[in-house]
């Protein structure tokens, strides 16, 4: 403690570098915009690997499952993705934010 980080071992960017150094496929997800109430601010990040192991967060847990699936797809095809979630979204029946906000999440492979 005292270095300004909650726990260095849980920091998404530190983990991304370490996981990649260990030979794992890695993707980063970043909140790039929010509207209305949303649980995590712009810039919040999540790291995921090929197996779906993840750390960090881009919401209060509402959309992480979908983001991790897209992260796995980005690791597989190398293409970045811009995802949008919100109650007004057509996916709302599947994945949505209970708070009624909207977020855009950018997913990119670390390569």
């Amino acid at each position: 403690m005292g270095d300004g980080k909650l726990n260095p071992t849980d920091d998404p960017l530190d983990l991304a570098a370490r996981w990649r150094a260990a030979g794992r496929g890695v993707a980063l997800a970043t909140v790039v915009s929010t509207w209305g109430s949303s649980p995590r601010p712009v810039g919040s990040q999540l790291v995921a690997d090929t197996s779906g192991t993840f750390a960090g967060s881009v919401s209060g847990g509402c959309i992480e499952g979908a983001v991790i699936r897209e992260a796995q797809a980005a690791i597989a095809d190398g293409k970045p993705r811009l995802l949008e979630f919100g109650v007004s979204n057509e996916q709302a029946w599947e994945v949505g934010l209970a708070c009624g906000g909207r977020v855009q999440v950018y997913v990119e492979r670390l390569g």
């Binding site: 530190d14 990649r20 790039v32 915009s33 712009v42 970045p80 390569g111």
Partner: protein
């Protein structure tokens, strides 16, 4: 993100240097800018100055600002300092504890933060509080608190708090007035320190202080 960019980003962060990563979302192309670079593009300089990550109006470019952690300087390794430095660390502050009384600073309770046993004015001058620094004095002892407050008041610290009752605080302000400080300076000092939540225990007082620091940082300035 290219691995080389991530490595550079982590190195800059470890060196507590502010930087901004610009991403063209459609292609994933990225450029990393360091705050002290000469000739930064205006929108990058503005994002860094505002400490604000944002998507451009056209929705195509994201600028992610990585700022060093906010700093908290706590003067006085007293009982309240124990929960305060622990909670502030959890809230991602880089905490330095200052107390020249080694029995407090290096006693049985080991503080898991940077500790300085220099005299508070020397310690604070070396730490050079800036607009991303909060300073809290907890000793109740004018010999220790006042020199720290003097340095804090001459700095751009975004928050200054001083533990002590209203009576203690009034006496403190009278001493600072003798040193040439005035109402504008006094208005910067939160004293008695902390939000009024009826806090009693050291942990509760630490919550009230940390909450007040966060409010000073995040609350919208009055219109």
């Amino acid at each position: 993100m290219k691995a080389a960019i991530l490595e550079r980003l982590l190195a800059l962060r470890a060196a507590t240097r502010a930087c901004a990563l610009e991403t063209i979302l459609a292609t994933g192309a990225q450029t990393l800018f360091v705050a002290d670079d000469a000739a930064l593009p205006a929108h990058i300089a503005a994002a860094l100055a505002a400490d604000r990550s944002a998507l451009a109006a056209d929705g195509r470019v994201f600028v992610h600002v990585f700022s060093p952690p906010l700093r908290l300087i706590v003067v006085g390794a007293v009982h309240i300092a124990q929960p305060l430095v622990a909670m502030a660390s959890l809230a991602a502050f880089a905490v330095t504890l200052v107390d020249p009384r080694r029995a407090f600073a290096e006693g049985d309770h080991r503080f898991a933060v940077t500790v300085s046993t220099d005299w508070p004015d020397e310690a604070l001058e070396a730490l050079a509080p800036d607009a991303r620094t909060a300073v809290v004095t907890l000793t109740h002892d004018p010999k220790l608190d006042d020199p720290a407050l003097v340095v804090a008041l001459r700095s751009r610290a975004f928050y200054i708090g001083a533990l002590g009752s209203r009576r203690t605080h009034a006496a403190r302000l009278a001493r600072l007035a003798d040193l040439g400080f005035g109402e504008t300076d006094f208005a910067r000092i939160h004293g008695p320190v902390g939000l009024d939540i009826g806090a009693l225990s050291p942990s509760e007082i630490a919550v009230s202080i940390l909450a007040q620091i966060i409010a000073a940082r995040r609350a919208e300035p009055p219109a």
